[in-house]
């Protein structure tokens, strides 16, 4: 390639990803006076945050004045089976209420209490009703609020633009290179600091609640730049996705259904969660249906319903019910709110669920139970970051939101992701802007790096080969679904690694038809690199952790092992190969340890 043609933009801070975390980071960096570029793969306002339903967790105490950050911290750590980065969990619990009130000042209209304050709802693993929400479309409210706040700030938005590689000057990040999806032209961004806010990896599985965008781009960018990942084996399978009809399998059914009174039943009509309470949560969970039902209105004298155990517990229980032959006709279980709450209440509290089941499944959730089953939902792990600054190991590179690991440990509590986005999105924007101020001088971009990336981007048009990118993606999804699903075992994980290796070979022979203008085959071909690398990272980490903890369940190591509870499994890329290592967890200070140990 003699000369590479591309356009160039320059910013102090480049934010990649425009969901909740990216938008909040961009807003903060702009508030700090930095020049900000915000890149998103789709149109603005379409990022996966838009699909979040149940709410944003923050110990505001509007419904239960007893609630405070300490209780939220404790719930988060216990929900994550203590694998969490304690400092992130502390900052998150302390700052979430301010971030929610800030969204309100930006214009978000949350549902209200009788006194006119922000209403909070019950969710799994949270001791008190804690989730600020707007019916069951909280993510939409959040992204729209941030979006409309951001467009009035000095932020340059680059829509339908995909970043393929980060550029480095020595060991620090100095920009990013990619292409416009609509024209296929190449684009260079020079930047003093880069924030990754690219979300998750759900698209490596077949059954997922995630949109097409969740292909692990940011994870790949970070790995290639030299950063490390943690807890990748702990993918969250949300217990309740739709299971029927097949074309909608995996679409999320909010935990709010159970938060608002819905219960899980098997085909015998048994509320099986009451038979699936693990030792770890026995003290705080109602062991009979009557107490569980009383808890909705009287939390002082009753323990939380077993239907609202953390997501990993519920997903495993559903999996076992189905395997034992007690499932619903289409391979899930029943989620019943129809027989437990009035129709008006259901329509008011869960309007999107009502609409979704009515339109897509022909089911009226005010009259009949839903059929639900686990769906790949959330990357509990992610890029290792410094808790206070969100800095990765690579100078100038920051990460926030789902793409960053640590806050959620081995299992995320519902509602903690939206708060994660704004708490750490803000911190990422702040520290990226501060970093950019400290990096003086001109930004030097290495033309050899640019040329090699350009060549890689355009290669799928000219390669010899006849592989179809869609088939490879589908085969990867089948592999991960069947071999690296909710319950794992060594033989299958090894088998998966072999299959991923073969798929990587096939990916080198992908050739796409058509031109560069809005060509989804080309886009899919390029996404394969991150999908396959991320899948390999997840599988390798899952093979390494020889115990069961949170989102990671091993059939050959069914118990949690205290020794494994002291380490994160870290993943790095070395000379193009995925490598794992065990790294000790940061030590929690004694005063926080006391919060965890305190009796309810």
């Amino acid at each position: 390639m003699a000369t590479v043609e591309y356009e160039t933009h320059e910013h102090d801070v480049l934010v990649i990803g425009a969901g909740g975390a990216g938008l909040r980071a961009a807003i903060e960096a702009a508030d700090q006076g930095a020049s900000v570029g915000l890149v998103c793969k789709s149109l603005l306002g379409k990022a996966h945050t838009v699909m979040a339903e149940g709410g944003i967790a923050a110990a505001m105490g509007n419904v239960y004045p007893e609630d405070n950050w300490q209780v939220h911290f404790r719930d988060t750590m216990r929900g994550g089976k203590m694998l969490n980065n304690w400092r992130m969990a502390q900052l998150h619990a302390q700052e979430a209420p301010d971030r929610v009130l800030e969204l309100e000042r930006y214009g978000a209209l949350f549902d209200r209490t009788k006194d006119g304050l922000i209403l909070q709802r019950d969710f799994g693993g949270h001791r008190y009703a804690r989730l600020a929400h707007v019916g069951d479309r909280t993510g939409l409210e959040m992204i729209r609020t941030l979006q409309y706040h951001a467009i009035h700030q000095p932020i340059e938005v680059y829509m339908e633009c995909k970043i393929e590689r980060l550029l480095k000057d020595g060991d620090r990040v100095c920009g990013a290179f990619g292409y416009w999806r609509n024209t296929g032209k190449l684009v260079l961004f020079k930047a003093r600091a880069v924030v990754l806010a690219t979300g998750g990896i759900g698209k490596i599985w077949k059954i997922t609640s995630n949109s097409w965008e969740c292909t692990g781009d940011g994870v790949m960018l970070a790995l290639e730049a030299g950063a490390s990942l943690i807890d990748m084996e702990c993918q969250q399978f949300h217990p309740t996705g739709m299971v029927w009809p097949p074309s909608v399998r995996g679409i999320l059914v909010t935990e709010g259904v159970r938060g608002d009174g819905g219960t899980l039943k098997n085909n015998k009509g048994e509320r099986f969660m009451f038979n699936n309470i693990p030792e770890y949560f026995k003290a705080e969970t109602a062991d009979n249906e009557e107490e569980g039902d009383r808890w909705y209105t009287d939390k002082k004298n009753n323990r939380r319903t077993a239907d609202l155990l953390p997501r990993d517990e519920v997903a495993r229980a559903i999996n076992s019910e189905v395997k034992a032959g007690r499932g619903s006709p289409h391979g899930g279980v029943f989620l019943d709110i129809a027989s437990r709450r009035p129709a008006d209440y259901i329509r008011k509290r869960l309007p999107s669920m009502y609409h979704q089941f009515k339109e897509l499944a022909g089911v009226d959730i005010t009259k009949e139970p839903m059929e639900v089953g686990p769906t790949s939902h959330y990357m509990n792990g992610g890029i290792r970051v410094d808790a206070d600054t969100t800095a990765t190991a690579v100078p100038g590179l920051f990460a926030a939101g789902e793409v960053a690991g640590g806050l959620h440990g081995a299992n995320r509590l519902g509602g903690n992701s939206l708060s994660d986005l704004v708490v750490f999105g803000r911190r990422a924007g702040l520290h990226a802007a501060l970093h950019a101020k400290n990096v003086g001088g001109r930004l030097a971009v290495d033309s050899a790096q640019v040329e090699s990336i350009s060549r890689a981007i355009l290669e799928p048009f000219t390669r010899s080969g006849n592989e179809n990118p869609y088939s490879i993606q589908a085969d990867l999804q089948d592999t991960m679904q069947s071999l690296v699903g909710i319950v794992r075992v060594e033989g299958e994980l090894k088998d998966a690694l072999k299959k991923i290796g073969a798929l990587k070979e096939r990916a080198r022979r992908v050739r796409v038809e058509g031109g560069r203008t809005y060509n989804p085959a080309w886009h899919t071909a390029l996404d394969l690199t991150s999908l396959l690398t991320v899948a390999e990272g997840v599988t390798t980490a899952a093979l390494e952790r020889k115990e069961s903890r949170g989102g990671h369940t091993r059939n050959d190591y069914q118990k949690s092992d205290p020794e494994w509870g002291k380490v994160n499994v870290a993943v790095r890329l070395k000379d193009g190969t995925v490598q794992v290592s065990r790294e000790p967890l940061p030590q929690m200070p004694d005063e926080l340890k006391k919060l965890i140990e305190e009796k309810q």
């Binding site: 789709s42 149109l43 379409k46 996966h48 699909m51 949109s211 074309s247 989804p520």
Partner: protein
């Protein structure tokens, strides 16, 4: 499994036409599933936008048998197997390729809407709003920005008045801000002079195509038109902010 004939628009700004594909539909499938099947098996580079496939992001807008709809929420079982189904891009916006159009007009109009201007907090630093007062604006916050209302609006579609007209999506954005209990800004002049509310002749086409069933015309545009006719009266304004001035459609 039924097999359908899908007549899908293929082309660029330079020209194009409908191309037929025979596609099998599985149980419960929607139009977007069939478009994906065409991509995977017959036309790799068929361009379409989509994200969530659950009716929540508003990306996959198209005209199906001439009607503006979301492809992800249009089930195949509403069609007869022996009738071809046409899928074309939303016509009002410039074509990029196949089913993808340039919707940047909407993002430009979004920027023009004067943002929230917050009233001071209560003495204890909190903001209190009653649910009844929040309900009306919350209806407009349901908008998923699919721009189907913009696509179908005659003022934009047939009378290229894009410069002087923001369109129904942004009328309810303005209405949502005007009905926001914490907002103190008056957008009457903006609505009249820049957004061009006066050009709307209330044919309700926007309301009919809204996948979120927002009462765009009755609850958003008509109250705004009434207020413009009234002129600005601070007392009426405050009373309306507190009590609501018209009973909203259910």
């Amino acid at each position: 499994m039924p097999t359908f004939t899908m007549r899908v628009f293929r082309g660029s700004p330079e020209g194009g036409g409908f191309k037929e594909y025979r596609v099998e539909a599985g149980e419960g499938m929607v139009v977007l599933d069939l478009i994906h099947r065409i991509q995977a098996t017959q036309a790799q580079d068929l361009a379409c936008r989509w994200n969530c496939k659950a009716g929540k992001c508003g990306s996959c807008s198209a005209e199906i048998n001439g009607k503006p709809r979301l492809m992800c929420m249009t089930r195949m079982d509403i069609f007869k197997e022996d009738e071809p189904i046409t899928v074309s891009p939303i016509r009002t916006f410039p074509l990029i390729r196949d089913l993808v159009t340039d919707v940047s007009y909407n993002y430009e109009k979004a920027k023009q809407v004067p943002p929230l201007r917050l009233r001071p907090a209560d003495p204890d630093g909190k903001y209190r709003m009653m649910q009844a007062d929040v309900d009306r604006a919350q209806e407009f916050h349901k908008c998923i920005e699919c721009f189907l209302c913009q696509d179908v609006c005659h003022v934009i579609r047939d009378h290229d008045l894009k410069k002087r007209f923001s369109g129904p999506r942004f009328f309810i954005k303005i209405a949502g801000l005007e009905m926001h209990p914490l907002d103190t800004r008056d957008r009457t002049e903006f609505a009249r002079e820049q957004a061009g509310v006066g050009l709307c002749n209330i044919t309700k086409c926007c309301t009919e195509v809204c996948p979120e069933h927002i009462h765009i015309t009755d609850n958003g545009i008509i109250p705004m038109k009434e207020r413009m006719a009234d002129g600005f009266d601070p007392i009426v304004w405050i009373v309306r902010k507190i009590r609501g001035h018209k009973k909203a459609a259910p």
